[in-house]
């Protein structure tokens, strides 16, 4: 009798577990070039998704496309495999998401950095210029030479937006200062070229810059190496990168892709998914500058106070940060 009970219990347990597995919400994450270990852009998305996996017990699959032609088949394969939500990271996937979301109206999609219309697509956009303005001001308040540098990954309007905001923030505190600016490349390879980033950083430091901000995905590592070699400052991007070379990374321009991805997954898993565009700026802490145990000694009280004051003025609308997207 006892034996029978035991078997029954085990059987029932197995059944419920099966059921739980079948009922798991399935999420797929498709990374841009650079991959999930870029410690910057894609890593932020992966962090958010991993947190959702741990807290909400979802099923998570993450893949990386090898070339720009691979996004579409990859998204299609995922849609065919009954994923409840597919999160596409990066602007390169915009066209593929547009096409596949129309073909699979029952699957929900989210895309970071691009605006894709559609009843089943959520676009997650960030006000990069606002956060860049703050780190530009920090660079200006820290720089002794009055010259700072900017290194962009791929030369596209999105990254020009970082550059313009950064320059405006710098000029606000150092009106006569100078910004040296370079871009790594014109294709997706630019996100994954730390050697070129290092080369550019060394030449900018050589030209007198003592703080450099790079928005270049996995290429940022090259800048950090150069900063350590030259004993000068660097500014990280997207994720909090302060920990990578403590003492040399002044701060990081945070783009809270992790929060955006986490929120989107949780909403979708609770059947509260909404389509349309969601913007993340300074006001809702979607972009910010990073302060933690690795850089608190690098940023004196006076600098923080000044930057927080600028932040408040931007949120209140007293400062209009120039936006590359609205330039023309």
């Amino acid at each position: 009798m006892q034996m029978k009970n035991l078997i029954l219990t085990v059987f029932l347990l197995a059944l419920t577990q099966r059921y739980a597995e079948a009922g798991e919400f399935r999420v797929a994450l498709v990374f841009d070039k650079g991959g999930k270990d870029d410690r910057s852009f894609n890593s932020a998305a992966f962090q958010g998704a991993t947190r959702a996996k741990e807290e909400k017990k979802i099923f998570l699959k993450h893949v990386e496309a090898t070339d720009d032609n691979a996004f579409e088949p990859l998204l299609r394969s995922l849609a065919q495999k009954d994923f409840g939500l597919i999160v596409a990271i990066g602007i390169a996937q915009a066209d593929a998401v547009k096409k596949i979301s129309a073909q699979f109206p029952k699957t929900r999609f989210a895309v970071v950095d691009a605006e894709v219309p559609g009843p089943n697509v959520k676009s997650l956009l960030f006000e990069e210029h606002e956060g860049s303005y703050l780190v530009g001001a920090i660079a200006g308040l820290t720089s002794k030479t009055g010259k700072i540098g900017f290194i962009g990954g791929m030369d596209i309007p999105l990254i020009r937006r970082f550059e313009l905001g950064y320059e405006a923030g710098f000029k606000k505190v150092k009106p006569s200062g100078k910004v040296i600016s370079n871009f790594i490349g014109v294709t997706g390879e630019a996100w994954n070229n730390p050697a070129k980033a290092k080369e550019l950083a060394l030449s900018q430091y050589g030209a007198g810059a003592d703080v450099i901000f790079a928005a270049a995905g996995a290429s940022n590592g090259g800048l950090f190496d150069a900063a350590e070699e030259q004993k000068k400052f660097a500014i990280g991007v997207d994720s909090n990168q302060n920990w990578i070379k403590p003492g040399f990374i002044l701060t990081s321009m945070l783009k809270r892709i992790d929060v955006a991805v986490f929120d989107t997954i949780v909403e979708a898993s609770e059947a509260k998914f909404t389509s349309g565009t969601r913007r993340f700026g300074l006001a809702n802490q979607g972009v910010d500058y990073a302060i933690d145990q690795y850089n608190e000694k690098l940023l004196p009280e006076a600098v923080r106070k000044k930057v927080d004051q600028l932040k408040a003025e931007i949120i209140a609308g007293k400062i209009q940060v120039p936006d590359y997207y609205r330039k023309k």
């Binding site: 893949v63 070339d67 720009d68 915009a94 014109v186 294709t187």
Partner: protein, 341 residues
């Protein structure tokens, strides 16, 4: 018969070794093989994707195989196909109102001509100046990439997109899709590829120029003594090869994307070398080898989704193992000797 047996055995051996690797990674080899097979041939869509990847590989495989017969090693197919695709897109974007039957012909000619130019240059340099085509074709790959970036971003940029791509081609240029394969972007360019394979075979084995090419590749001094103009034969072989690689642009631009996109090729030019080597230079072999590599490309793309430990990088491992086992000449002679004794 032996000519067929060796590559087939080599492929089987390469696959077996590759699947052993997956066993080490903690995945059942049988399951990986099933996923590969299903993902490559499981549905009309999957088969269509396999053929879609095989199409450019037929062109680049031929672009490497043809000069091999003339004793030349073309590793510039990547640059040649980049310029071919760029030329097709440029014609389509600059003259968008050309009507249907004429438009694709124009674009095909442009793609062939641009690729042919990029084959002619190293061919001429080798024949007239004696500088080695391996070095020159590699270098020209970089020049082609730079040229394509410049034209795409500064002359023909699509203003509506942040991605590095040209404006769209006119409606008259678009090749019809083979609808039986569902959503797969497989177009009539596949037939062009098969036609090209046939023409390469006919050129090599049924024409005087083809005979001269093979003679130069077999023994240059003997060919010269026999009165064959070996320089001309070399230049012709490289020019035709470049043109063949350029035709990759037809499938990509006219059949798939409708525009030129920087970085569209996942190294089709270099996989073409593997295709030509596996085919041992034969045109029909190129078609078969391209199909195999297309299937590997498509099949392995689903490994990321279906398994925990095996990623699509297995594709590269399998390709390498297949090539290694094909080129393991010692192994095959040893096997043959054993059978004979």
């Amino acid at each position: 018969m032996r000519a067929l047996l060796q590559p087939v055995l080599a492929v089987a051996l390469g696959l077996a070794l590759g699947l052993l690797v997956t066993a080490v990674a903690g995945e059942s080899p049988w399951r990986v093989l099933t996923i590969l097979g299903q993902s490559a041939f499981g549905s009309p869509y999957d088969l269509g994707m396999t053929l879609f990847y095989a199409t450019p590989l037929i062109f680049t495989g031929l672009a490497v195989a043809l000069p091999l017969h003339a004793g030349l090693f073309n590793i510039g197919a990547e640059g040649q196909l980049t310029l071919g695709a760029l030329a097709a897109a440029a014609v389509g974007a600059l003259f968008p109102s050309v009507p249907w039957p004429l438009a694709p012909v124009l674009a095909v000619l442009a793609a062939f001509a641009a690729g042919a130019l990029w084959g002619y240059i190293p061919g001429w340099l080798r024949a007239r100046r004696g500088s080695h085509e391996v070095i020159n074709t590699i270098m020209l790959n970089f020049v082609a990439a730079g040229l394509a970036s410049y034209v795409t971003l500064y002359l023909l940029k699509n203003p509506e997109s942040q991605n590095p791509e040209t404006q769209a081609i006119g409606a008259g240029y678009v090749l019809s899709r083979l609808t039986w394969f569902g959503d797969a972007p497989l177009s009539t360019a596949l037939f062009l590829a098969l036609l090209a394979a046939f023409l390469v075979w006919a050129f090599l084995w049924k024409t005087v120029a083809g005979f001269e090419s093979r003679a130069v590749g077999g023994n240059e001094a003997a060919a010269r003594t026999a009165g064959i103009r070996e320089r001309r034969a070399r230049i012709l072989a490289m020019t035709l090869a470049g043109g063949l690689a350029g035709l990759v642009g037809v499938g990509e631009v006219l059949g798939n994307a409708g525009r030129f996109r920087l970085g569209f090729s996942p190294d089709f030019g270099f996989i073409g070398i593997a295709v030509a080597l596996l085919a041992r230079g034969r045109a029909s072999g190129v078609v078969a080898a391209a199909l195999l590599f297309g299937a590997l490309h498509k099949g392995t793309s689903d490994l990321d989704l279906e398994t925990e430990n095996v990623t699509r990088d297995l594709s590269l491992i399998l390709q390498a193992l297949v090539i290694l086992s094909v080129s393991a000449d010692g192994l095959w002679t040893w096997l043959r000797k054993r059978r004979a004794s």
